[in-house]
């Protein structure tokens, strides 16, 4: 059972309080009607399924009801970082599975590793 830091409550809470909502940073096209069927299909149905670091959307369903993002390793289940909607992760999105930074080290990695990833969410 995961132990998840809610970036809104500022506390670790049990997984039972949260709902996973799939991949994070899926941005709805600004003008859906201008999308081709294929583009719209990609937005609707196609998601990453990485073996390694993944960014997910979660909601503190039985807590503050706020949505937030989780950067999680799908192999080790380690949570590298959680951050609010609208924020970008401090850790590089491409960190390799093998070379995952430890949680304590993440602060230092973060400082210069900001990167424009995903979109508005």
């Amino acid at each position: 059972m995961l132990h998840i830091w809610c970036p809104w409550c500022g506390e670790h809470r049990e997984e039972e309080e949260f709902h996973p909502k799939g991949q994070a940073h899926i941005v709805r096209p600004v003008d859906p009607d201008a999308c081709s069927d294929e583009e719209w299909g990609d937005y609707l149905f196609f998601r990453d399924n990485p073996r390694g670091v993944h960014r997910e959307l979660w909601v503190h369903a039985a807590g503050c009801r706020k949505f937030f993002n989780v950067m999680r390793n799908t192999v080790s289940y380690e949570i590298l970082e959680t951050y609010r909607i609208g924020e970008q992760p401090k850790i590089l999105a491409e960190v390799n599975v093998v070379a995952l930074p430890k949680r304590e080290e993440s602060e230092s990695v973060a400082s210069d590793a900001r990167r424009q990833a995903g979109g508005g969410a």
Partner: protein, 1004 residues
């Protein structure tokens, strides 16, 4: 029966407290402090079970969780039955009743044993797969007999009288195991002030120190244990949990601890005490100090009663004052096992010989044994034990491990007990429960724990077996864990232990026999499952190479012991046959739980009434008093129908339907989801989330809305009312309320955070009393200060006022097609208003109706229920609800784009239609498949299915809603519904509106 194997003194038992117990109908005696196993051995009970497959007699082998044979059924009556208890871990109490799990008619005289003996050679691995495969249908028949012949314990048939509970805990440092490593860790961490939990699965804490020959600070090791525990008990930040097994470590150091609170006192707990308690612990750091299990050697006849792992001998002597035999032979690969022989000698019994696999054993213990005059036979091993119900003699020979063969002639020696040791397997389970892989260590000749985040493995788990080393390692681990958890630095003075010089061990697993493995007497690897070395060889000859496949084919490690004694030996045999090193063969996966956990502990208090929360409306008691039958909708209990006298459901529903269509009825609709939406952008938000238009909905007006996912499929529906310029009240389906709220929040928070809008669930705050029928206006008029006239209060209006003197919102909306008013009042006024309505309603024949009548009435009008008539694959157009779609809204609302995808534009999509059975007496089955040609050869193309179906008292006929491919173009067509019983029903596709198609009844 006398306790023939009990020493006159010694042991940690309380001889002033004799206890009586029953094993297989024999009354026996033991002492307080005994385990069931030590008491059985004290009484000279050799055979405790019959083996699973071959029915061979089996005795106690070990003294702890790793015991494969002494698996018993506990319980003096049906309700108290507990299956598959390890006798080595069950404390003795007065009146304990136990019996062998296997063996019919009894373990001592077993008829199945004869079968095993005669047929054993014809029962290779995969025997069941190979023999009972065909015909497949017979497996169910075979299985019953196989289970009876083999079976493990049985579950009780009567209700469990005990209670169980859960405890959620947090701690800084959780220490698993209270041997030398764990105790030192607990002292270090405890003194630093952090919150510590120390667990140990045994009756007493102390682990190997309780049966050690070593002296700490010049005294008995047990004395240091007592002193340490006394200090820990004074520390408020340390919780000691004896009789508690850390059964599983899950993600992020979530550890389950199973505390046996009363199992040492009696078979059921006294008073209201919980028998078992499951602690759910979130630990900052776990110090894994769970020690090691001694590994037996694999030789012929190694399962005959009288074969032990060497360390168990020391445990029984030191802790229980029991010597389980007279003449011992020890077969070993290492120095440490010599303790068993020395202890045996100290207990005044005869050590026939120590057979050591090493050419030149030379450690301190070897020297001691030699000095005591014990015969040491080096470079050799016990290759075979012989005997029937007890070991009588062994054959010893020189062995050559490299070529895996016996050298020269075997010597036969008489004895009644064989102790063997092939080294130690670290108990690494908790370190690898989350998916880490064990690390092979050649020096240890075993797998040690890998590096795992949050876990500090120490002592024997890392192959550091010597007491002094374990103490040091434990103290360091405790200090590190405390430091990482924010504790203060501490000084710890460890007890002085004489460092013992042990010789290097040799890697020994299966011992060669003078016959090839396949012809030699059986050499058991997994005793609980009767897996032999020959079976593993055979599996490999048949082509199995992966250890995971070998395990499944031979069933090695599948027992309740999960192969704690046998798995490494099995892997070593596989490695030898495959010509690989053990780490190349790999290990199987360790999964929680470490030892079996009773269902009661898993369930805790979440059973019976507390299994699932129930939600009741404010009117629940009235419904109960009125004799309502209830339907579960999500967690809600909703009145289903209100039977009168001896009415059947059918009769009650027909009466309720007629009351609404002809007079007036009332429904408790409080369970409808209600979401209060406020903010300057509330209207904009509705415009985006609903399929239809909201821009012009004025104050006091109500509109029906349809909600899609962005794939264009309908997810929920309901009405939304304009309570003010920036204020709306949305209703949702009963079951969809929570999901819809989360849906709105998700869109707002992740996609349109710029919109100023807030959502609040008010479902429980308002009770909803739905008054429906031609007389509803007259009845409500008697209690209400709102002008209810047709002109002043139109259909799809809402008004604020009072009803029965109570503030109310009244909504003129209808789910029945009749003139209806939904009265919303604060939930705690609901009963008052409801009763006032009934007082005035008597003359109108006011009739309470339930969900079944609601369903019939709404279906007659073709009103859908999201989730019943839709399944996440229906667009608004599939439902024929184009009227509810704002194609030309400025914003591309959720679901719009998908409606123009090629797939959603197909003409042959399943579409919602009405069905009228040709025979009006027929009520079609919901879910029944629809076909166009009843005589079509199988497989018949299926074009749709029934989603809702009822009998309509108004039509005096069955009717249904259904989805049919291209159904909107098939009005008037005939379809057929073939049923499982061979009946084929004929029905006509009709409009979904069966009653009052023009909607005149609600516009009065």
């Amino acid at each position: 029966m006398k306790q023939v194997n009990r020493l006159a003194d010694g042991g940690r038992i309380d001889r002033s407290h004799p206890l009586q117990f029953r094993f297989n109908d024999k009354i026996l005696q033991g002492f307080a402090g005994d385990t069931l196993a030590s008491a059985l051995l004290a009484n000279g009970v050799d055979i405790v079970n019959r083996s699973f497959k071959y029915g061979r007699p089996r005795g106690i082998v070990a003294a702890g969780a790793e015991e494969p044979n002494a698996i018993v059924q506990l319980g003096s009556n049906e309700a108290s039955q507990v299956p598959n208890v390890r006798a080595t871990q069950q404390a003795l109490y007065d009146g304990l009743v136990a019996s062998s799990t296997n063996g019919w008619p009894s373990a001592e005289r077993d008829l199945m044993g004869g079968v095993g003996k005669m047929l054993g050679r014809f029962m290779p691995p995969g025997f069941y797969y190979k023999t009972f495969m065909k015909p497949a249908s017979m497996w169910m028949t075979w299985e019953k007999y196989i289970r009876k012949g083999a079976g493990l314990g049985r579950s009780p048939k009567a209700r469990d009288p005990d209670r169980y509970d859960h405890l959620n805990q947090h701690c800084d440092v959780l220490i698993v195991g209270a041997g030398p490593t764990g105790l030192a860790a607990a002292l270090a961490a405890g003194r630093s002030g952090v919150r510590v939990i120390l667990v140990d699965e045994q009756e007493e804490m102390g682990g190997s120190l309780l049966d050690s020959r070593e002296r700490l600070n010049g005294c008995d090791a047990a004395r240091w244990v007592a002193e340490t525990l006394a200090e820990l008990a004074t520390l408020d930040n340390v919780q000691l949990l004896p009789r508690t097994t850390a059964t599983g470590r899950h993600d992020h150091n979530f550890v389950t601890l199973l505390e046996r609170r009363t199992d040492h006192l009696g078979e059921t707990a006294a008073g209201h005490q919980a028998r078992l308690r499951l602690h759910r612990v979130r630990a900052r750091r776990v110090v894994l100090a769970s020690g090691a299990h001694e590994r037996p050697l694999v030789y012929a006849g190694n399962d005959i009663p009288g074969n032990f792992v060497a360390g168990a001998i020391s445990t029984y002597i030191h802790r229980y004052g029991v010597v389980p035999g007279q003449k011992l032979i020890l077969s070993t690969s290492n120095d440490r096992a010599y303790c068993a022989a020395l202890d045996w000698l100290d207990a005044g019994r005869e050590v026939v010989a120590i057979v050591d696999g090493r050419e030149k054993p030379d450690g301190e213990l070897v020297a001691q044994a030699r000095a005591r005059g014990i015969r040491i036979i080096s470079g050799s091993a016990v290759i075979e034990a012989q005997g029937g119900s007890r070991v009588k003699r062994v054959r010893i020979a020189r062995i050559d491990s490299a070529s895996f063969r016996v050298v020269g002639q075997a010597e036969t020696l008489d004895c009644d007990t064989v102790a063997s040791s092939g080294g130690y397997s670290p108990v690494i389970h908790l370190a690898v429960h989350t998916g880490g892989r064990p690390v092979w260590n050649d020096e240890v000749a075993g797998f040690v724990a890998p590096q795992v985040d949050g876990v500090i493995s120490a002592g024997a788990v890392m192959g550091r077996f010597a007491t002094a080393e374990a103490l040091r390692d434990g103290a360091e681990a405790g200090q590190q864990a405390a430091r990482e958890a924010g504790g203060a630095a501490t000084q710890l003075r460890l007890p002085e232990v004489a460092e013992r010089r042990d010789g290097a061990p040799v890697a020994l697993y299966q011992i060669p026999h003078d016959q090839p493995t396949s012809r030699a007497p059986k050499q058991f690897v997994d005793m609980q499952n009767d897996v032999t070395a020959a079976a593993i060889e055979l599996a490999i000859r048949e082509g199995f190479e992966s250890i995971e496949h070998i395990k499944r084919y031979t069933v090695m490690g599948f027992g309740t012991d999960q192969g704690k004694l046998g798995n490494i030996n099995g892997m070593a045999i596989a490695a030898r046959c495959l010509g690989r090193a053990i780490p190349e063969v790999g290990t199987t996966v360790f999964r929680p739980n470490y030892t079996p956990v009773a269902f009661g502990a898993v369930v805790g208090r979440h059973c019976g009434e507390l299994f699932e929360p129930e939600r009741h409306t404010a009117l629940h008691q009235w419904h109960l008093d009125r004799g309502a039958e209830f339907e579960e909708v999500g967690q809600w209990k909703r009145p289903w129908y209100f039977p009168q006298g001896n009415e059947t459901m059918e009769q009650a529903v027909a009466r309720e339907c007629r009351a609404v269509r002809n007079g007036v009825g009332i429904l408790d609709a409080s369970t409808l989801g209600k979401i209060d939406i406020q903010g300057p952008d509330a209207r904009t938000f509705l415009e985006r989330i609903y399929t239809n238009k909201w821009a012009k909905l004025g104050f006091g007006r109500v509109r029906y809305g349809l909600m899609c996912k962005d794939d264009g499929m309908v997810m929920d529906d309901g009405t939304t009312s304009c309570l003010g310029d920036n204020h709306f009240l949305m209703t949702t389906s009963t079951g969809g309320a929570a999901a819809v709220l989360e849906w709105l929040e998700q869109w707002h928070q992740t996609e349109w955070p710029d919109l100023q809008v807030f959502f609040t669930s008010v479902t429980d705050h308002w009770a909803t009393l739905s008054l429906s029928g031609p007389d509803s206006r007259r009845l409500l008029g008697e209690l209400c200060d709102i002008d209810l006239s047709r002109e002043a209060f139109k259909f799809m209006d809402w008004r604020e006022g009072t009803v029965a003197g109570v503030p109310a919102r009244v909504f003129r909306i209808s789910f029945t097609g009749e003139l209806s008013y939904e009265i919303n009042v604060q939930a705690n006024y609901a009963r008052h208003v409801w009763e006032a309505l009934f007082e005035r309603g008597e003359k109108y024949g006011l009739t309470p109706y339930g969900t079944e009548t609601m369903h019939v009435l709404r279906a007659e009008k073709g009103f859908i229920i999201a989730g019943q008539d839709t399944d996440g694959s229906m667009t608004p157009e599939d439902l024929g609800m184009q009227w509810c779609v704002g194609y030309d809204k400025a914003f591309s609302w959720v679901g719009k784009r998908a409606l123009s995808r090629a797939d959603t534009r197909r003409s042959d999509r399943k579409q919602l239609v009405g069905l009228r059975p040709k025979d009006p007496r027929v009520v079609l089955e919901e879910g029944a498949q629809i076909v166009l040609e009843p005589d079509h050869p199988v497989p018949v193309p299926m074009v749709g299915y029934v989603t809702s179906s009822y009998y309509s008292p108004t039509l005096d006929s069955g009717f249904a809603l259904a989805v049919v491919k291209d159904g909107h173009q098939k009005m008037g067509h005939t379809v057929w519904l073939p049923m499982a019983d061979g009946q084929v029903y004929e029905a006509e596709i009709v409009s979904t509106v069966f009653v009052d198609p023009k909607g005149e009844r609600q516009n009065v």
